[in-house]
């Protein structure tokens, strides 16, 4: 068996950084002048933990700064690893290649954005005062809020770090059980994050719902996994793959087990009809957390899904995967459901939640195109590239949108769309960025959202357009002869058209409604910078050299992922 020494820690740098961050988070804010008296002596030895805290570390900002630094360095290290093409394996549970590094980068970057937004969303004030009897109710409440925020800084960021740890390990696991455990680590922490604002009614409710539905989904998933174990006796992905390929006909244990796991991951990515708790969770959670769920959590779900669908159950080239049809149907239902439901949503967070459901549908459509088995390695890579690329840039513009909502949320309400009213008059740059995010979500060129959507449609068409009859001379004979996966492309296109309605509506509201208040938005200087940076990147990743290099990286990642088989 492997010993711990076999695991090269230098390839787990992001995880190690996050662990260290966690430790520091626990230790540093608690540093104080506590002394312990040596027994039987009068000597007091400073133990530094507890007591009156040092003024330097008693600052409630410390945890968020630690989190930001941790995530930034983890993200950076992931990038470095990615660029260095670091590959390593620690069989049977961990494997590191470009794919995993890319996803660690995505996760940690998303978490970095979460921490930056949370820095303003969960403001900490060093001059918090205890309310006394003289205060009015309002000022009392605000004081209590400040105190509460100060107190729970550490909790929040530790949870974030745990989410990060779980996610990064999900990407790296090559053992199904390991994968699941890490997924649970991330999930459980995110349930708490969703319900973090326990003082508000919706916070608790959102947490409950998300937790209940999520737990049921993971219970189903674990059960499915146990079935797989019954079938194979081994949950290593490589072994499962092998067994799957040597399987003559579909074993019911295997089939049902995989299906059940698909349900669990379907919940994570927000596929219909498992997505129903997502909008509630997003709207109940604070915007940074919602952004995290919409980007990193979804990406994590997709990683897990890809592991199952593309590695384990993928048949030999030329054969159709058994899940293809089901996934295709689900993807169409998902995107349509998401878009339709978003159409009339008055809550921007719900709207974005539904939109992220729709995006999941697009990506699943692309996945099911791989499932047709029509493509060779190249074209499969292309589609996978599209999906990964989409997941990557989604962090930019979807999270960007949630960061803008964070700004709005700070001043009261982001639960109705009217919070965005007249944003352009209050803050043109933020409004413009929001508009760019919306257009990118809608897939309007030349923004990066367009490029990813184009690549996905591209991939589907690439696989399917060749299947039509070559000898057909009329349109209809061709249409009847083409693989039905082709219509997924059309479905995506029509759905993009529907989605324009609500994305543009945001633009409309920002530009035309009279603002509820004329007060300028929060200063939140770093958040602003981040938003603008995200908008810029959204633009630059759409066309030009940056998109080129990003595509190259993603493509290599996709190759490294598929090469495993």
């Amino acid at each position: 068996m492997n010993s711990l020494n076999d695991i090269p820690l230098d390839i787990l740098i992001p995880e190690v950084i996050m662990t260290i961050g966690m430790l520091m988070m626990i230790v540093i804010p608690n540093l104080g002048d506590a002394k312990i008296r040596l027994p039987l002596t009068r000597t007091h030895i400073p133990v530094l933990i507890g007591g009156t805290r040092f003024s330097l570390v008693s600052n409630p900002v410390i945890p968020s700064i630690i989190a930001i630094i941790t995530f930034a360095s983890a993200s950076l290290m992931s990038l470095v690893m990615l660029l260095e093409n670091k590959t390593a394996t620690a069989p049977p549970i961990i494997e590191i290649n470009q794919f995993t590094s890319l996803f660690s980068m995505i996760f940690t970057f998303a978490l970095l954005l979460t921490s930056i937004s949370a820095f303003y969303r969960l403001p900490s004030k060093s001059d918090a005062k205890i309310p006394n009897d003289k205060d009015t109710t309002a000022s009392k409440n605000s004081k209590i809020t400040i105190l509460m925020n100060n107190r729970r800084q550490v909790d929040f960021y530790i949870l974030l770090l745990m989410v990060g740890l779980g996610m990064c390990l999900v990407a790296k696991s090559t053992h199904l059980f390991m994968l699941f455990v890490c997924l649970e680590l991330a999930s459980l922490s995110s349930y708490v994050l969703v319900g973090f604002h326990k003082e508000s009614q919706i916070g608790g409710e959102a947490g409950t719902k998300y937790f209940i539905v999520g737990s049921v989904a993971s219970a189903i998933g674990i059960y499915g996994m146990s079935l797989l174990y019954l079938w194979n006796g081994n949950l290593e992905i490589a072994s499962l793959t092998n067994a799957w390929q040597n399987m003559d006909s579909l074993d019911p244990f295997a089939g049902i087990g995989m299906g059940l796991m698909l349900v669990a991951f379907g919940f994570k990515v927000g596929a219909a009809p498992f997505h129903l708790a997502t909008p509630d969770a997003y709207s109940g959670a604070s915007s940074p957390v919602a952004g995290l769920l919409a980007t990193a959590s979804k990406a994590m779900g997709f990683v897990a899904m890809m592991r199952i669908l593309l590695i384990i159950t993928m048949p030999e080239s030329g054969e159709e995967a058994y899940w293809m049809f089901a996934l295709a149907i689900i993807s169409v239902i998902t995107m349509t459901w998401g878009n339709l439901a978003a159409l009339t949503s008055d809550n921007p967070k719900r709207m974005l939640a539904y939109s992220s459901v729709a995006h999941a549908g697009y990506m699943m459509a692309a996945l099911s195109a791989i499932g047709t088995g029509l493509g060779d390695f190249e074209s499969n890579t292309l589609i996978l590239t599209a999906i990964i690329f989409h997941l990557t840039i989604l962090v930019l513009f979807k999270f960007g949108a949630f960061m803008v909502l964070t700004l709005i949320e700070n001043e009261g309400s982001s639960h109705t769309i009217s919070g965005l009213n007249g944003l352009v008059r209050r803050d043109p740059i933020i409004a413009l960025s929001m508009f760019i995010f919306m257009l990118s979500l809608a897939g309007v060129p030349p923004l990066s959202g367009f490029l990813s959507k184009l690549l996905m449609i591209n991939g589907i068409i690439n696989l399917s357009a060749g299947t039509g009859s070559i000898t057909s001379v009329a349109v209809f004979t061709w249409i009847t002869s083409v693989n039905m996966i082709f219509w997924l492309a059309i479905a995506i296109v029509i759905n993009s058209a529907i989605s324009l309605f609500y994305y543009l509506r945001i633009g409309l509201i920002m530009f035309f409604e009279d603002p509820i208040t004329d007060d300028p938005l929060d200063r939140a200087i770093y958040l602003r910078l981040t938003i603008v940076l995200c908008a810029l990147l959204t633009l630059l990743c759409g066309i030009g050299p940056l998109s080129e290099s990003l595509l190259g990286i993603v493509n290599e990642a996709a190759q490294s992922f598929l090469l495993v088989r």
């Binding site: 409950t208 719902k209 209940i212 539905v213 049921v216 989904a217 189903i220 579909l250 089939g255 049902i256 299906g259 059940l260 698909l262 349900v263 379907g266 919940f267 219909a272 009809p273 498992f274 129903l276 708790a277 909008p279 509630d280 058994y322 899940w323 049809f325 089901a326 149907i329 689900i330 459901w337 339709l340 439901a341 978003a342 159409l343 009339t344 949503s345 529907i498 309605f501």
Partner: protein, 763 residues
């Protein structure tokens, strides 16, 4: 108004323009036809000049007084055109010139393109639609008529328009549009291809629209303008399709190519007469629209809403002649002696029928008109119809090979165009003079307040003007005589020919021609009646309203054109006949000259007119003279004739005529004028009502239906998609009940359906 005598010096600055021709001829060594571009170019450039200067310097005293709000510029431009036209005319007529039968000058290539043949190769020759001029006897004649009359009418307008306060500050528009209109006519006549003919033709349509709607605030004027444009547009569309067919046949629209050999089309293919027939018929529809023939005649009476000079311009000098010119251009197609195509007789018959019907109809409507300009308008329609009949007959003769008869009919028709244009131009100007002075008198009495709905154009308000307006009365008398066809005067020389040839065709060759023949013969008599009626109602008898006593013939710029045209009308027809104009116009000769000495030619001509060899012709001729000269005027005199008021004296000729008119007794026609027939005639035989009704019941509802369809069905479908999507959205959002139990249930259902999908598809 006022100090009139001093206005003539205004045109002194134009005198240097007289140097243009000498300079071009001697200094630049140009040929006359090389200078023809000036005829078009100068008005074309003056048009925006007047418009812009007028708009900028509007209300400027100097602009008003010195340039007559652009009148002087317009006059100069038209003068140049006239001058060059005369130069060309002289060149053409003088024998030492290089003119062949016609002349073409190519200016520039308008558009060029290649043609894909049916064997999928590009035709080696690039096709060119060019711009140039084409001159032959017909175009020269019409060019002269147009330039000459435009010049005179412009001259007249400077008196007529600038003295009317209602026109103040708007005259630059009038002159600019006037000049453009003239340009259109000149261009059309000079054009060397059917396409450019059509282009200028349309320009005239535009200008007629602008000028008829000159009094833009009048609802009736706006309506009339629209009606004129649209009615002619209907014809124009058919004309355009005709051009397309012609182009398809010949691969070109230029006269030179087509007339070279009309029987062979593009690439030497033989032309099918059937196809050509349709082409020509469609061209004729265009002509019908432009020349206001039945059934597209409805616009012309309404067009009297424009200022009187405009009426003169449209009816005499320019627009209505365009249709005639176009039909005249059809001759080479049907002339079987010169490569024409046989089998197009029906075309001639159709044209003659349309002409006959229109002539009769217009004349009968003219019986009951009381508006002096309306009478003239219907007379125009009627006379044009004469010409159409003549042309139809000529085409028929040409096509059946009766070359000589065809020449006479054709020449006579063209000559009638000349006579009619001169006479009608003068008549309109004279009527303008009457209207103007009556209006002034009325203004003078009532201090500009028109509270009793006095209509200065209504002949029932006139009478007895012979003594007040001697020049006008004389001019109008000669004009009417020319139209009536009083022997020796103007129209007589041409009308005789038309009627005689029509009858000849009917009697000798083609029984179908009887109807037009009878109709135009009847019309001759009716012309005699209504023209006399008009003159008598206006000038003879006692004044029928108080304003007449205050009428003076005092406005400047008005008399000269009248005088000039009176002379031309009175003796022009005879003199030109002496010179063999009919043969010239029919392109039988290239020159105008007398055969033999003066005396013998005079005798020849007279004999030819009154005592032709052919018995039928002689009979018809005398019947015509009898009807038009004796019966018609006497009937009119019995109803409307009468002496002037006591103490009023007119000049001898007119005085005699007035007193003669009272000699035939009087007849009360009030019963007749209240009859159904009269009502129908007064309502223009209900054509306008009918068209209006049809349009209001078909086109407008259909347009509204289309708009509704677009809004409700096509756009409605889009809106349906939108609203259905919103509805679907609300529905689908209701699935998210908020209850976690339902979410789990849905997830379970989803799980089940996944398995159903997987295994359902697998088996």
């Amino acid at each position: 108004m006022g100090q009139n005598k001093h206005e003539y010096p205004l045109i002194y600055p134009l005198i240097p323009l007289l140097l243009i021709v000498p300079i071009m001829k001697y200094a630049l060594g140009m040929d006359s036809f090389d200078a023809a571009f000036l005829i078009i170019l100068v008005p074309l450039l003056v048009f925006p000049t007047i418009l812009l200067i007028g708009q900028i310097y509007n209300k400027n005293i100097m602009w008003k007084e010195k340039y007559k709000e652009g009148g002087v510029l317009a006059l100069g431009a038209l003068g140049v055109s006239l001058y060059v036209a005369i130069w060309i005319l002289f060149d053409y007529l003088s024998e030492n010139q290089q003119f062949s039968h016609h002349t073409v000058v190519e200016w520039f290539q308008w558009i060029t393109f290649d043609f894909l043949q049916s064997d999928y190769t590009i035709h080696p020759e690039t096709r060119i639609i060019g711009v140039g001029i084409w001159i032959d006897s017909i175009s020269l004649m019409i060019l002269f008529v147009a330039t000459f009359l435009c010049f005179l009418i412009c001259w007249f307008s400077m008196g007529y328009m600038n003295t009317d306060p209602i026109n103040e500050d708007r005259n630059h528009r009038f002159y600019a549009e006037f000049v453009l209109f003239s340009m259109g006519m000149f261009g059309m006549v000079l054009a060397d291809s059917f396409l450019w003919l059509f282009i200028f033709w349309e320009i005239m349509g535009l200008c007629s629209y602008l000028l008829i709607g000159f009094y833009y605030w009048k609802v009736s004027a706006a309506y009339a303008a629209k009606k004129a444009f649209l009615t002619t547009r209907v014809g124009d569309v058919f004309l355009m399709v005709g051009l397309l067919i012609l182009y398809d046949i010949y691969g070109s629209l230029s006269f030179e190519v087509i007339f070279d050999d009309p029987s062979t089309g593009v690439a030497g293919a033989l032309v099918e007469s059937n196809q050509l027939f349709w082409a020509l018929l469609l061209l004729f529809v265009g002509a019908v629209g432009k020349s206001a023939q039945f059934p597209l005649h409805v616009w012309l009476p309404d067009a009297m809403e424009g200022p009187t000079p405009v009426s003169a311009l449209i009816h005499a000098a320019t627009m209505v002649n365009a249709g005639l010119y176009l039909v005249a251009r059809m001759v080479p197609f049907v002339d079987v002696h010169h490569n024409g195509l046989a089998g197009l007789e029906e075309l001639g018959i159709i044209i003659a029928y349309i002409g006959g019907i229109t002539a009769f109809m217009a004349a009968s409507i003219a019986f009951v008109q009381n508006d002096i300009k309306k009478v003239l308008a219907y007379s125009t329609m009627s006379q044009l119809a004469y010409i159409f009949t003549g042309l139809g007959v000529a085409l028929w003769f040409y096509n059946t090979g009766h070359h000589h008869a065809a020449t006479i009919a054709f020449g006579a028709s063209m000559f009638h165009l000349f006579n009619h244009a001169m006479a009608k131009g003068m008549l309109f100007m004279a009527s303008g003079s009457v209207i103007h002075e009556v209006h002034h008198a009325h203004d003078h009495i009532h201090k500009g307040q028109n509270n009793n709905n006095f209509d200065p154009q209504d002949m029932r308000n006139m009478g007895g003007l012979a003594s007040k307006m001697p020049i006008t009365a004389t001019a109008m008398m000669f004009g009417s005589m020319s139209i009536i066809g009083v022997p020796l005067i103007g129209g007589f020389w041409s009308k005789e020919g038309i009627i005689a040839e029509t009858w000849k065709a009917a009697l000798e060759e083609e029984p179908l021609m009887f109807l037009p023949a009878i109709l135009i013969l009847a019309t001759a008599g009716m012309t005699g009646f209504y023209m006399s009626r008009m003159w008598l109602m206006t000038f003879a008898g006692e004044p029928k309203s108080d304003v007449i006593d205050h009428v003076h013939e005092s406005t400047p710029w008005i008399r000269e054109p009248l005088l000039i045209l009176t002379i031309i009308t009175a003796i022009g027809g005879f003199i030109l006949s002496l010179f063999g104009i009919i043969d010239f116009l029919a392109s039988e000769t290239d020159h105008l000259k007398m055969h033999g000495g003066i005396i013998s030619s005079v005798l020849d001509t007279l004999e030819h007119a009154f005592l032709p060899n052919d018995m039928n012709t002689r009979l018809i001729g005398w019947i015509t003279i009898f009807l038009s000269f004796i019966i018609g005027p006497i009937m009119a005199a019995r109803i409307h004739g009468g002496n002037l008021k006591e103490g009023e004296k007119a000049n001898p000729l007119i005085g005699w005529l007035v007193s003669l008119s009272s000699k035939f007794g009087s007849q009360d026609v009030s019963e007749l004028s209240n009859s159904q027939m009269s009502k129908a005639l007064q309502n223009r035989l209900y054509f306008d009502d009918m068209y209006e009704y049809i349009i209001s019941k078909s086109i407008i509802p259909f347009a509204n239906l289309s708009a509704w369809f677009d809004r409700t069905i096509i756009d409605g479908m889009i809106k349906q998609i939108e609203s259905k999507a919103v509805l679907g959205s609300l529905q689908i959002r209701r699935v998210t009940t908020g209850s976690a139990r339902d979410y789990i249930l849905m997830a379970a259902v989803g799980t089940l359906s996944i398995f159903i999908l997987i295994w359902g598809m697998g088996s």
